[in-house]
């Protein structure tokens, strides 16, 4: 914009300068032309004076004498001739006397001629009328000498005296010039310049106008036209065509001559000279612009006017035209430019505006987002703190409800309401906990707590927990042993609580959303390889797996290397769990969102409460345990959902034996024999070391028969899994789907059995698998089954490795009938079985009744003795896990004893019925139980068990003493964390069977500010046979130790310790335990002794323990002081 505005004036000024220059140039040219014209005129000017000069010369020579013709001839004619021949352009020269004498030379017909008149006027007084008679003669002149020759020709007289120019010349002293016609024949225009002589004659020189004007016309006028006229209107030159100029005073009017003769005035040109140069005026003549310059001119003494006309089509007009075009173009360009700039600016402005709007919107949006984030953050913070408060108050609420519950009359409405309130409050607490869990996981604060536990036990517990709920809905919850690998590696290290949480969550979901059919839980183990993991999480492949790993890495592993380390850890195994239900299932498209928090699949969630947090938590937990969870695709037509997840757990198979031993040491002191330990009916121990405890190595007998198991179980899934499990163990299994089918099945077996008995007397059974014998034999002989590398194991091998086969000593075959008591009318079933038994000749038969809990008493009381074999075993449902294994162990090959009709039988049955494992060494355990089971003890057991949150507690409450006793037996099946301290019995053992005081003779110092604790500690120590001194703070303890040490020194036994051990509370007034310990350590150095100091704190965290150790204490124990802990600590110190 600025450039064109600057350029335009620049360009304009340049153009105008050029124009001005051009104008100036043309003006210059014009004025030069004028000047040249005028110059030419000036140049001609001297001609004017020649006449006067000549007259002067003549006057001198004449000396005023009167002239006669002869005088003229002699005196005047020669100078005239001389002048004639010398003066240029001269066309005639004459002397005219007043009296009529006349002599002249002139050029006519290319010859010099002389004209003269020799007669003068008669009288001196001149009278015009007498001149008429004068004669005139023409004679040729010799143009070299000027002599007249030839005949003189008479010609009419020239009346010159009367002419105006003659008079004028006569009167003027300086001569006179005028334009006259010449006196030769052609009547040419001549410029006549005349001067007087002596007042009586006139010399005149005539110049040819043609020659003079040729001087003017010969000037290069460059297209200009010249007009020249004398002031009295005689036109000398007129070059412009078709025009006619009329001189009027100082004006020249230009007239156009039209072809028809009319004249039209075109305009006037002023000839007044201003500022020394003629003014130019422009006139249009026939379409062409002309510049007219008019100026007066003195031409050889004749006043005249000339007009110069230039056509205006030259440079100036070109420049002018160009300027206009260029200006127009420029304007067009500029306008277009301006337009474009404006439009551009407009667009730019609009864009900028829009951008600003967007920017503002963005800022607004960002602010909104930030605000939302802040809000959400605040919300979650408030939420977290609120939920903390809520939990506290909720806990208070439940406590209060419980209290009220106590005081309410049983059976009253108030009690019912309170119970419901309690349930509600507990539900609320559960919800709250799940929400807190979520926030904990979100914050990444969830950590794994590694501990050793029994996976099989855990699974069974969880499944048992949900079994009653499932049964209530008509859904069977089945624990599928699968390939038995989970049993083999059941002793694992991992986060028990979280795994249980995962399983509980999935199971509760499965049970909740299943209305009919079954829920199956199965587990198997595989080597944790990358390959496997990819298969496990095959939905998204490697990336997901890696992502998963990175998520996990928050925990303990920071990168892939660590992961590799995990995988290379030979003890880490991948456990795959599947929870499979036959419920409504989850639509495919919802399957991904299921794992998001707060998402419930609407269609299936109808009427189901819950926050929708469950699966989100489960997923987070699974990932925390280095695994992944997914929903497995089911085949078409199959109902329900199958969740599968894998976690990596450390197995501790090799460690288990050591552990067991360590526990032994804990439980008993040295005097106990290992047998006694083993006999305690703890399935934990029992399962952990199956090979060493269950196996009865007997010499292989050549007579081997196989057992046969008949299953009558209503639920398809359970029947299938049980059957497969047994078949994997190479047990022959027959199944009956309904009770009506049982007789025929039994019949078949009986037939076969009897048949084989007839045929074979000691040889192997026809029905036994041919390969079985050799294989079992090889297994036994080589004993490799436990050490078979994992990779080479197939499913059955896992199980075989757990259930070690032994070759039974019994020659007769064994038939085990497992009957679901609720499958049909009980009496009918009993009858069928009894009938079957009657018909058996050679085989032993055992019946296992599967019972719903609570049903047994009723059934057995009303059945006649003969129908029920006292050998029969009754097992409460669910029939899986340890119950299943128990039944398997009834078989002779797996260590079961075959019952004869001995007198001991009844007692035995009782314990079988109570699910005490059939064990070769069980006799001792029985006696033990019987001995120790005093009334109070058993009651206490039950109470304790009730305190643990077992589902079956309500049922157990109302049991008869025998059942109660049975629970003593079955007690250890409930998880160790249920609040039953497993050491209870051990303590009793110590108390009852071992009166030794392990600390007898020892002297201890107890430093504790709390009277209560002090008293407790002292009592405990006294009980252990030690003597104790007490003090109330660190200072006192220090003093006592100091005194003791110095006393010892005095006695000369400086190496003796004043106290064998010091029990030091950490937090005491005056001087705390740490400080006291430091002081003691400092002091005892000089004595060269080391007094063991045991720290006591109420803190259980590791931090305190570290502080204690750093302070110089030997061992750190948590309060309250436990005898066995103390003993262990002392053992540890002594061992040091």
């Amino acid at each position: 914009m600025l450039l064109p505005t600057a350029l335009i004036p620049c360009w304009y000024s340049m153009i105008s300068r050029v124009e001005r220059q051009v104008n100036l140039n043309s003006h210059d040219f014009h004025s030069k032309l004028q000047y040249e014209i005028e110059n030419t005129a000036k140049f001609l000017h001297p001609i004017n004076s020649s006449a006067t000069n000549l007259a002067g010369v003549l006057e001198l020579s004449l000396n005023g004498t009167k002239l006669s013709f002869s005088m003229i001839e002699t005196k005047v004619a020669p100078p005239l001739f001389q002048a004639w021949s010398t003066i240029p352009y001269l066309s005639q020269i004459s002397y005219t006397g007043l009296e009529g004498l006349f002599f002249s030379y002139y050029t006519g017909q290319n010859q010099t001629l002389a004209v003269y008149s020799n007669s003068s006027y008669n009288s001196r007084s001149s009278a015009p009328n007498v001149k008429k008679n004068f004669n005139c003669y023409i004679q040729h002149v010799n143009h070299e000498t000027g002599e007249l020759y030839g005949n003189s020709i008479e010609c009419p007289p020239l009346n010159l005296v009367n002419k105006r120019w003659f008079q004028e010349a006569l009167n003027s002293t300086n001569g006179y010039a005028s334009l006259e016609t010449g006196w030769n024949n052609s009547q040419d225009l001549i410029l006549l310049s005349s001067a007087r002589i002596n007042g009586e004659g006139v010399i005149s020189l005539g110049f040819s106008a043609k020659v003079l004007t040729a001087r003017f016309t010969s000037i290069d006028r460059q297209g200009g036209s010249l007009y020249l006229a004398t002031k009295d209107g005689k036109v000398l030159i007129e070059e412009l065509k078709n025009t006619h100029m009329v001189l009027a005073g100082n004006m020249v009017s230009v007239q156009l001559k039209k072809p028809n003769g009319e004249q039209k005035v075109l305009g006037n040109v002023s000839c007044i000279i201003k500022d020394g140069s003629p003014r130019a005026s422009t006139l249009n003549i026939q379409g062409t612009e002309y510049m007219f310059y008019c100026s007066s001119l003195d031409m050889v003494g004749v006043q005249s006017v000339y007009v110069l006309a230039f056509p205006q089509k030259g440079l100036v007009s070109l420049v002018r035209k160009n300027r206009i075009v260029a200006l127009a173009l420029l304007i067009v360009i500029i306008t277009s430019m301006v337009v474009s700039i404006l439009s551009f600016a407009f667009i730019f402005v609009r864009a900028a505006k829009r951008e600003m709007h967007l920017c503002a919107a963005l800022i607004k949006q960002m602010e909104a987002t930030q605000q939302a984030e802040r809000k959400s953050m605040n919300k979650s913070l408030a939420f977290a703190s609120a939920s903390h408060d809520v939990r506290a108050s909720l806990a208070g609420l439940t406590g209060l409800i419980e209290m009220c519950y106590e005081e309410a009359n049983p059976g009253s409405e108030l009690e019912t309401n309170l119970r419901q309130m309690d349930t509600c409050a507990k539900d609320l607490l559960g919800l709250l906990n799940s929400i807190l869990d979520t926030s904990k996981i979100e914050a990444g604060k969830m950590q794994l707590e590694e501990e050793e536990f029994d996976l099989a036990q855990l699974l069974e517990d969880v499944v048992d927990l949900y079994h009653p709920i499932g049964i209530k809905k008509g859904v069977d919850v089945v624990l599928d042993p699968y390939d038995g690998s989970a049993i083999k590696f059941s002793q694992v290290k991992g986060d028990r609580g979280k795994l249980k949480q995962i399983l509980c969550n999935l199971l509760s979901n499965a049970v909740k959303f299943t209305c009919e059919g079954h829920v199956t839980v199965r587990t198997w183990v595989r080597k944790p390889s990358l390959q496997n993991s990819i298969i496990a999480s095959n939905r998204n492949g490697l990336m997901k797996y890696l992502q998963c790993l990175f998520r996990k890495s928050n925990e303990a592993y920071n990168d892939l290397e660590a992961m590799n380390a995990t995988q290379q850890d030979p003890n880490a195994m991948e456990f795959v769990f599947e929870v499979d239900d036959t419920g409504k299932g989850i639509p495919k498209e919802k399957q991904i969102s299921v794992f998001e928090n707060y998402v419930q699949v609407k269609e299936t969630a109808l009427g189901q409460e819950g926050t929708g947090l469950g699966l989100g938590i489960v997923q987070s937990l699974v990932r925390l345990m280095h695994g992944d969870i997914s929903i497995m695709d089911k085949e078409m037509g199959e109902k329900g959902t199958c969740f599968r997840f894998n976690v990596i757990l450390g197995t501790c198979e090799n460690v288990s034996c050591n552990n067991a031993k360590a526990e032994d040491l804990e439980m008993v002191d040295g005097s106990h024999t290992p047998e006694l330990t083993l006999s305690t009916p703890s399935p934990g121990l029992w399962l952990r070391t199956p090979s060493s405890k269950l196996t009865v190595h007997t010499t292989p007998s050549p007579k081997v028969t196989t057992s046969h198991v008949v299953l009558l179980i209503q639920n398809n899934e359970r029947r299938r899994t049980s059957q497969r499990f047994m078949e994997n163990l190479r047990i022959k299994v027959s199944v009956a789907k309904q009770w009506e089918h049982l007789p025929s099945t039994l019949q078949k077996i009986k037939h076969k059995e009897n048949h084989s008995c007839h045929n074979s007397s000691g040889k192997s059974d026809l029905s036994s698998p041919s390969g079985y014998l050799s294989r079992s034999a090889s297994n036994n002989s080589s004993g490799v089954d436990k050490d078979v590398p994992l990779s080479s194991m197939d499913g059955s091998d896992y199980i075989l490795s757990v259930f070690k086969r032994t070759t039974p000593k019994f020659a007769s075959s064994f038939i085990l009938i497992v009957i679901d008591a609720s499958a049909g009318p009980f009496l009918e079933l009993c009858r069928i079985v009894a009938e079957f038994k009657k018909g058996l000749h050679n085989a032993t038969c055992k019946v296992v009744w599967l019972e719903k809990p609570m049903m047994r008493n009723i059934n057995f009381k009303h059945i006649e003795e003969d129908l029920v074999d006292p050998n029969d075993v009754v097992i409460s449902k669910p029939f899986h896990g340890s119950r299943l294994y128990q039944v398997v162990r009834l078989l002779p090959e797996f260590g079961g004893t075959l019952q004869g009709n001995s007198s001991k039988l009844k007692e035995e049955i009782k314990f079988q019925a109570e699910k005490v494992p059939k064990d070769p060494s069980s006799s001792r355990s029985q006696t033990y139980i019987e001995n120790s089971s005093t009334n109070k003890h058993s009651t206490q057991q039950v109470e304790l068990q009730d305190h643990g949150s077992s589902i079956e507690e309500t049922k157990r409450k109302s049991m008869s003493p025998i059942q109660t006793l049975s629970h003593v037996g079955s007690k250890p099946r409930s998880p160790p964390s249920n609040g039953i301290p497993p050491k209870e019995q051990e303590i009793q053992e110590i108390g009852n069977s071992n009166d030794e005081k392990p600390l007898s003779g020892k002297k201890l110092l107890v430093a504790d500010d709390n009277v209560l604790l002090r008293k407790l500690a002292v009592a405990s120590l006294l009980k252990l046979g030690a003597t104790a001194e007490t003090c109330v703070n660190g200072q006192e303890a220090l003093d006592l130790v100091c005194k003791g040490l110095s006393d010892q020194r005095k006695l000369g036994a400086s190496k003796m310790l004043p106290y064998d051990y010091v029990l030091m509370d950490c937090e005491m007034p005056m001087m705390n335990g740490y400080e006291a310990t430091k002081q003691i350590r400092k002091m005892e150095k000089s004595y060269g002794v080391h007094i063991p100091i045991i720290a006591l704190t109420a803190h259980t965290s590791g931090g305190e323990a570290n502080v204690a150790i750093e302070a110089g204490m030997d061992v750190h124990l948590g309060k309250p002081l436990k005898k066995e802990h103390l003993l262990e600590a002392i053992r540890y110190i002594d061992a040091k």
Partner: protein
Amino acid sequence: MDVVVQLQRQLADHTASLFHEGFLNDQFNQLQQLQDESNPDFVVEVVSLFFEDSERLLNELAKALEQQAVDYKKVDAHVHQLKGSSSSIGAQRVQGVCIPFRNFCEEQNIEGCLKCLQQVKHEYSLVKNKLETLFKLEQQLIAAGGSFPTL
């Protein structure tokens, strides 16, 4: 004899309920085991010590929490002691409340502390009543000439 049996049963029921409702835990059993001929009233002694101790602590706690500027360190120390002594006799509900109490102390949450103090007081009075009943029953049993059930 009937009276003795009844009393024994009552005693057993009461003890069972104490455990069942979570007032006491296994530690109390240990306490009972420590009692023998040489130390016949050990449990009663220890428990009354606990009562004295707890009442003192509760009073001090109440005082400390009433003050304008609560000395949380002191409160924490008291609660710590209470926790220690309650866990020593196995009064696990009292002990249980002590845990959130200490948490509140750390957070310096006066409201929570007061709430917890109420709870502790409540639990304490409950367990005191229960234990006193227990001891009364035991005394009655002994007075009735019944043998004290051995463990």
